[in-house]
Amino acid sequence: MTLRTLHVAILRNAALFVPAPERAEWFAEWRAELCYVDHGATSFCLGSFRDALWLRHNNPNPRPTFSLESPWRCVLLLAGLAILILLLAIPSRKLWLPAWSPSGIEQFALGLLGMYLLSLLVLLTLNPMGLGECRANRYAPAFLIRLRRWVFLTLKIALVVPTVFFAISIVISIFPPASPILLLGWIFGLRWALADQRQRCPVCLHLLSYPVEIGSPAQTVLGWYGTELICTRGHGLLYVPGTPTSWCSRQRWQYLDPTWSSLRP
């Protein structure tokens, strides 16, 4: 391999980081410039990585990525993950499938229920279970819309619990026995479901965005400091205290009146 080939290979590798529509032109420019470099061509070519990464980070049309921002996407992802894990756990079903008798099924169900309640109990001691204050005002949505929030949370927990169970069945089949792992898995799963719920708008259930730090820890005694998040659809603002205090211990949601509708896309 000649040095020239090596330099072109470096440029070709760097080109992989450049967004596809600009890649051909970008490579043509660097290759043309390389023709004029008579010394230090390797360091010249290595600099192309910085240029390529700059273009990637500043791409005005980034490729859409799968995010959990929408509640439907979140549920779909969890359902897909549950199905995938279930399919992977089928070969080790002898470990988790109960003996096909009334007493076997009863024992299995009681064991799962006990473990589930224990994980809730541990979570309660480790982490506040509340979803924050959501004081109703005259702009608060109807009861059915508020009910959706709880349905969504129930659905998430209903999908997280079996996903963790089957995932840990796979782990047990490799490193037996592991009932503490199941407990830990459920604690983390439930904690994620609650944390995700706290970061969502109670009206449209989309993830909140544009977090803004307000104030500083020095203001704890005389005022409020923390993070403010906003629903991009204009439903409200969420205030998360930086340090929980006696007058502001939990995050607080504020519904916005229609004058804020200009925020909606």
Binding site: E29, A32, V37, C45, L46, G47, R50, D51, W54, N58
Partner: protein, 108 residues
């Protein structure tokens, strides 16, 4: 097009590169040689300046490149906003004008 005012912000490196282009070093490697900056600094700065419409790029015609028996190069030229920005940056960095005093020295 972004408005350019006298208090517009431009990093020292970007100001040097802009000044080098204005002095006639109109392609990336020439800017590198003149300024002594590495390729990993010059090219991203050129993208940024072009995005901010302070410079514009243009490919050399294939005919000219063939005559010189070399691949066509991409040339960068200063826009009106860029000229205003150079004036503003010279107020901010007074020694800049002394670095590249000759305008249009290497125009192709």
């Amino acid at each position: 097009m972004p408005a350019v005012t006298s208090d517009a912000k431009l990093s020292h490196t970007a100001a040097i590169i802009l000044q080098a282009i204005d002095a006639g070093h109109e392609y990336g490697f020439s800017v590198m040689e003149t300024t002594g900056l590495p390729s990993g600094t010059v090219y991203p700065a050129l993208r940024r300046l072009e995005r901010d419409r302070l410079i514009r790029s243009q490919w050399e015609s294939q005919r000219v490149a063939d005559a010189g028996q070399r691949p066509p190069r991409k040339y960068y030229r200063i826009t009106r906003s860029g000229e205003a920005m150079i004036e503003a940056s010279q107020k901010r960095y007074p020694l800049l004008a002394k670095l590249f005093p000759v305008r249009g020295a290497e125009k192709p």
